[in-house]
């Protein structure tokens, strides 16, 4: 199997889908002539031409809305935000026009659109440029929210998302773009709404996604050396949540820790923890613990920023806590 970087895997997914369906096109800042701010769209302009790989001015609300309009009448746009931090300027289009459209039109309109781009704390970019917006977007009924952590999942999920008839917020992580991994060639589809057990185990369930998978797996390895066998679940899709996979694991391990790079208050982990608790409270041998970003805007200073991230050490401490060690 070919070993690709995360960005190459995303590129392959877009190229294959554009080849397959002439309604698919890519639009965003610097996606065409510059090959993408993060080079995710490398070569696509050359291959598909300027009508299907479209550079835009810095007009996020405008091009997000243009994407929604085009999707409502049958095109399948992929809208790239240079980073999701800038999607804040366009959030009205994403929430009101993309997510609500099917519902408020009584089912008249589908909005088959993918909003994608990088996100997260990417190294001293400070408060405005380090947003993690998965919890915000996941709260919106009508949106599908996907956050892959490996190149293979990135390709397979992006292809599925381009084919789905609902609006998708597909959040990549800036620090994962250069990650390498084996990626199946051609028709490789990862289903939306299906979590993946990245490491099976029996003692505790670690639930995570995107960039935090790495620290979580590292924590699991360190715990294994101490005889603690952690199961690591990569959500991959944040909404809809694959609750069945989570429940099955928790019923087996009786303990869970949720690891997220987003803020703690009203966060993703809170919602997930609620769903698990509602269903299998009696199976839990300890309260569910969360390891999230610290509750502050993102600082510039390197050490302060590092302290915000869910590190392996913080994850291990939470695991020891739920195991009463």
């Amino acid at each position: 199997m070919a070993v690709l970087t995360f960005r190459e895997a995303l590129n392959q997914a877009m190229a294959e889908e554009m080849e397959r369906d002439k309604n698919v096109f890519l639009m965003g800042q610097e996606v065409a002539q510059y090959d993408g701010a993060y080079k995710v769209s490398q070569g696509l302009l050359k291959r598909f031409g300027p009508e299907r790989v479209v550079d835009t001015p810095i007009s996020e609300a405008g091009f997000a809305g243009i994407g929604v309009g085009a999707a409502m009448v049958g095109l399948r746009p992929i809208i790239e935000f240079m980073t999701f931090s800038f999607s804040l300027v366009a959030i009205d289009q994403i929430v009101n026009n993309a997510a609500n459209m099917r519902y408020m039109s009584g089912g008249q309109f589908a909005v088959p659109i993918v909003f994608r781009g990088s996100s997260g704390m990417a190294g001293c970019l400070a408060a405005t440029h380090s947003h993690r917006l998965e919890a915000w977007y996941s709260q919106i009924p009508g949106l599908t929210v996907v956050m892959p952590s490996t190149p293979s999942d990135a390709k397979g999920l992006l292809k599925s998302c381009i084919r789905t008839d609902d609006p998708v917020v597909f959040i990549e992580h800036e620090v994962l773009y250069h990650e390498r991994g084996e990626v199946p060639e051609g028709e490789h589809l990862v289903p939306i709404g299906k979590a993946d057990i990245k490491r099976p185990g029996n003692d505790v369930t670690l639930i995570t996604y995107s960039r935090s998978l790495k620290a979580t797996l590292a924590a699991a390895e360190a715990l294994a050396a101490d005889g603690i066998d952690a199961e690591v679940i990569d959500l991959r899709t944040i909404r809809p949540l694959d609750l069945d996979t989570l429940l099955e694991s928790v019923v087996k391990t009786h303990r869970a820790v949720i690891v997220e790079e987003d803020w703690p208050y009203c966060g993703l982990g809170a919602g997930i923890s609620d769903r698990i608790t509602q269903r299998v409270f009696d199976e839990l041998d300890a309260p569910i613990r969360r390891v999230a970003a610290k509750d502050a805007p993102i600082p510039y200073n390197k050490a302060l920023e590092a302290s915000m991230l869910p590190s392996a050490d913080r994850i291990i401490a939470a695991v020891r806590d739920v195991l009463y060690l």
Partner: protein, 415 residues
């Protein structure tokens, strides 16, 4: 960018028409929608308007010639590039006797040396994150800020080092910020993209493109309500004029007559995207008319021209006749950020702009007029270089924030 004007389908049976007369000659400016040529069809004589505004670069179908629907009949240059700076009014040599010219020179050199120094700190790995630099744009920052008084305020962007130094922030508080130290202007929390110091009349850089424009209007509203005579100078780039925040902010300032000088530093690029790709009017200042305010395009590499235009704009704002939109033509000679190799800038264009170095332009004026000897200028430069090196040494050992400071300054009182 050259835009091809193709002969439109003018509803004829025979697709061939004859060019009767060109209403604009090559080299002349034309507005979008203005009559460009007349053609004779099988039915009548029809006037054809330009689909874009700009400079008529070439005529491809002479008078009397036949042309068919879809054929390219002209090329229009839709660009705010150096090639047509000839059409703007340059206002150099203003009131030299009343301006402390050497001060302007020193500030510009300070910005250049700071940025060059920081570039190398970044290259050697001392500087984290990313940096957006402003070498070559010193005249716009310095010229605008020289027109301001101590109680005026500026807003800036992710590319804010030059604005900060021009406004009077010290090398130390900026460098310390870049090093993430508590002695930095934002206590190490804001970093390069968010530098500012309210005591010195500068808001933290607003790093979301266009985001500072309504803020500037808001501060100006406060000034107006308090019946003060201060002014806000709002810096932003050419890229920002495509954002809704630009339109909303400028329009609100216009309808409420707010004292803001909107300063668009048109350095021809928003990241890798050339300005002619993002708008159809050739001049950003032309947009002022749409808001009912005064707009003006100025040679942004001539600090005296910038100062003169800024003085006028600031005076208008103080008299309650603002806002004003200034477009300062300049050039981004570095990559967009430290990550960008900047391969998209054409050689010729770069060479032309590099030949118009704002610091050299002022140096020439100073030397030619006898206001300063070359040696004086060299001494200024050496003094600033030494000052920068000392500041770097200090910055390396400044106190870094402790982890307790992560959650300070989130709320007025803590949570």
């Amino acid at each position: 960018m050259l835009h091809e004007i193709k002969l439109p389908d003018v509803g004829t049976v025979d697709p061939t028409v004859t060019v009767v007369r060109w209403l604009v000659q090559a080299g002349q400016a034309i507005e979008r929608g203005a009559p460009l040529l007349e053609v004779e069809t099988d039915k009548s004589i029809v006037t054809i308007e330009a689909t874009v505004g700009g400079i008529l670069e070439s005529i491809e179908a002479e008078e009397g010639a036949e042309a068919a629907t879809g054929q390219v009949v002209a090329r229009i240059k839709v660009a705010a590039d150096l090639g047509d700076t000839g059409t703007i009014e340059l206002r150099a040599g203003a009131r030299a006797e009343t301006i402390p010219l050497l001060d302007l020179y020193e500030r510009m050199v300070l910005i250049r040396e700071f940025e060059e120094g920081v570039k190398f700190l970044f290259l050697e790995g001392s500087m984290p994150g990313t940096i957006h630099q402003c070498q070559g744009q010193e005249a716009s920052a310095v010229g605008v800020c020289a027109a301001l008084g101590p109680d005026d305020v500026i807003t800036s962007t992710f590319r804010g080092h030059g604005h900060a130094l021009a406004r009077g922030l010290s090398i130390e508080e900026l460098l310390d910020e870049l090093f993430g130290a508590t002695t930095g202007c934002c206590r190490g929390k804001g970093g390069s993209m968010h530098v500012g110091d309210l005591d010195k009349g500068m808001l933290p850089g607003i790093a979301i493109v266009g985001g500072g424009i309504p803020l500037a209007a808001g501060m100006a509203l406060a000034i107006k309500l308090r019946k003060e005579r201060h002014v806000v100078a709002c810096f932003f780039g050419d890229g920002a004029v495509a954002e809704g925040a630009f339109h909303e902010g400028v329009n609100l300032a216009a309808i409420w007559d707010l004292p803001v000088v909107f300063v668009c530093e048109n350095n021809l690029y928003g990241a890798s995207t050339r300005v002619d790709m993002i708008m159809r009017v050739p001049r950003i200042s032309a947009r002022a008319a749409a808001y009912g305010i005064r707009g003006e395009t100025v040679d942004g590499n001539d600090v005296l021209a910038v100062l003169e235009a800024s003085n006028r704009a600031v005076a208008e704002c103080r008299q309650g006749r603002g806002p004003v939109l200034l477009e300062l033509l300049t050039y981004r000679r570095t990559g967009h950020s430290r990550r960008d190799a900047c391969h998209y800038q054409p050689e010729k264009e770069r060479a032309e702009w590099m030949a118009r170095d704002p610091i050299e332009i002022l140096a020439r004026t100073l030397i030619d007029s006898g206001a300063a000897a070359p040696e004086t200028l060299a001494v200024i430069k050496r003094r600033i270089q030494a000052q920068f090196q000392t500041a770097v040494e200090h910055a390396r050992s400044r106190p870094l924030p402790s982890l307790d400071e992560l959650a300070t300054d989130v709320y007025a009182q803590g949570e």
